[in-house]
Amino acid sequence: MSALLEVTDLHAGYGPADVLHGVGFAVANGGITTVLGANGAGKTTLLRAVCGLIRRRGNVQFDGQSIATRTTERIVRMGLAHVPDGRGTFTLLSTEENLRVGAITRRDSRGVAADMQKMFTYFPRLQERRGQQAGTLSGGEQQMLAIARALMLRPKLLVLDEPSFGLAPMVVQDIFRIMRTVNQEEKVSILLVEQNARLALELADTAYLLETGRVVQGGPSEQLRDDETVRRAYLGY
């Protein structure tokens, strides 16, 4: 499998201070990669740097092209959809409008309509809430909406920033199940940042461990799962 996203020696941060110090990882074409780490390890920063939302330096190859100096808008248009932390809901727009915004760069209106139907089959709750102002949705519904909005782009790579954050276990199960479906049926590669290490390692084929801005470990998920230190620090048994 060739890499869809390949990052090497990535430095990034806010203001004068770097948060990431030479991070490297990859997402295989059609694969699922997860980046684990504690609070403050730099997970969110990593995703923001990949998408060009913050100052960064290093090599970022996406779909065969270097995106290290491209603007967020252009990177997104290449097929990289980012579900940001905090979900990034357009609170005053309706649920349906949120989905339309997700597909705003697409020109095939028929495909968009079909994809919207597909989102409603993935997330029936969203169909019930179709005309409702998105800011009034529950946290779980907003997370579903954020993922659906990102999928409306018909991306090659779906980037998710802690989709389980603050949600009930049932909802988290749902969301992870749909991520697997999307990966298998739509061939969407996934880059997932998570605190819930157990679930993330179950879903992903490749995993990396981020500590204070550096990758300290990386490899196939099973390998990390069986690793003594990872188990103690992140899985808690």
């Binding site: 998408c51 939302l53 967020t72 808008e73 997104v76 248009r77 959809a81 980012h82 940001p84 990034g88 809901t89 357009f90 609170t91 005053l92 727009l93 409008e97 339309r100 915004v101 997700g102 705003i104 760069t105 909005r149 990102a150 782009l153």
Partner: protein
């Protein structure tokens, strides 16, 4: 009774113009959280452009369309050249830029077109519209305002560019993450606001005549309208415009007299800020600490 009805209806006619200007203010406020103090001067300058086209012999409606297009362009250029560099500046710096823009536009207009008052034609002079309640121009101006509101509503509600603009105003980061060019959306917002202002200017100029200071009073009412309706609610601003227009007329005719009419706007502004800062339909922001 007839006189009263006349006051109300003609209040609706000027109210429509306040509504349009208030809407232009709201559009810029929603996306940047700044009040464009130069909105009125931009409208005044556009009206002079229209006057130049008409003076050069263009038919009225051709001049009208050319002016709207030119204003759209000028609005975009102003945003890109003047406003963009202070995007992240403290609010006071931005206010000073707005005031500078106001003064520059005002004196440039005086310099190019002189400070002598000019008449501005009305395209609505059909005899068939003659009646005791409203002048033909007032009827036409209500029609144009309603048309503008309808077109804007349709644009923002049903087109994908309109949706992109609303999204960009609400959540710039999320908008970038779906591929919207947020910077251009802001510029386009300025362009639209300038175009709306141009139409309002062309509709009010036949009534109050054309001179570089023509908008100072009108803008005061527009500010009052925007505040009354809620500075972040387009529908509120429009309704506020019509309310202010009617209240202004009635107060002028029966309560304070025409000389003190402008103070009605001030009373409204102070009243709203004191008793209902979010306006009639504005969103109330509660900050958790």
């Amino acid at each position: 009774m007839d006189a009263f009805l006349h006051q109300v209806l003609s209040g609706l006619a000027t109210g429509g113009i306040y509504a349009a200007l208030a809407l232009a203010l709201v559009m810029i406020y929603q996306s940047t959280h700044h009040i464009n103090f130069a909105q009125g001067e931009m409208a005044m300058f556009s009206t002079y452009i229209a006057w130049s086209f008409i003076d050069a012999g263009f038919p009225y409606w051709v001049a009208f369309v050319l002016t709207v297009l030119a204003s759209l362009l000028i609005g975009i250029v102003i945003e890109r050249v003047v406003i963009r560099p202070v995007e992240h500046a403290p609010v006071l710096s931005v206010v000073i830029v707005f005031i500078a823009l106001l003064v520059i536009l005002n004196s440039t207009a005086g310099w190019i077109f002189s400070y002598t008052i000019k008449t501005f034609p009305s395209p609505f002079d059909w005899r068939g519209l003659q009646n005791s309640y409203l002048s033909p121009h007032e009827i036409g101006s209500i029609g144009v305002t309603l048309m503008v509101l309808l077109v804007l509503y349709g644009f923002f509600r049903f087109t994908s560019l309109g949706l992109a603009m609303r999204a960009a105003a609400q959540n710039p980061v999320s908008s970038r993450l779906v591929g919207i060019r947020v910077g251009w959306m802001l510029a386009l917002g300025w362009g639209l606001a300038a175009a709306i202002g141009a139409i309002a200017g062309m509709m009010i100029a036949p009534v109050i005549y054309l001179d570089p200071n023509m908008m100072s009073g009108v803008m005061l009412y527009a500010f009052a309208a925007a505040l009354l309706g809620g500075i972040d609610n387009p529908f509120g601003a429009v309704l506020g415009g019509f309310i202010v227009g009617v209240v202004e007329n009635i107060a002028g005719a029966y309560i304070v007299g025409t000389e003190l009419k402008l103070s009605v706007a001030l009373v409204l502004i102070v009243g709203v800020l004191l008793f209902r800062p979010s306006g009639l339909f504005g969103r109330r922001y509660v900050v958790r600490v």
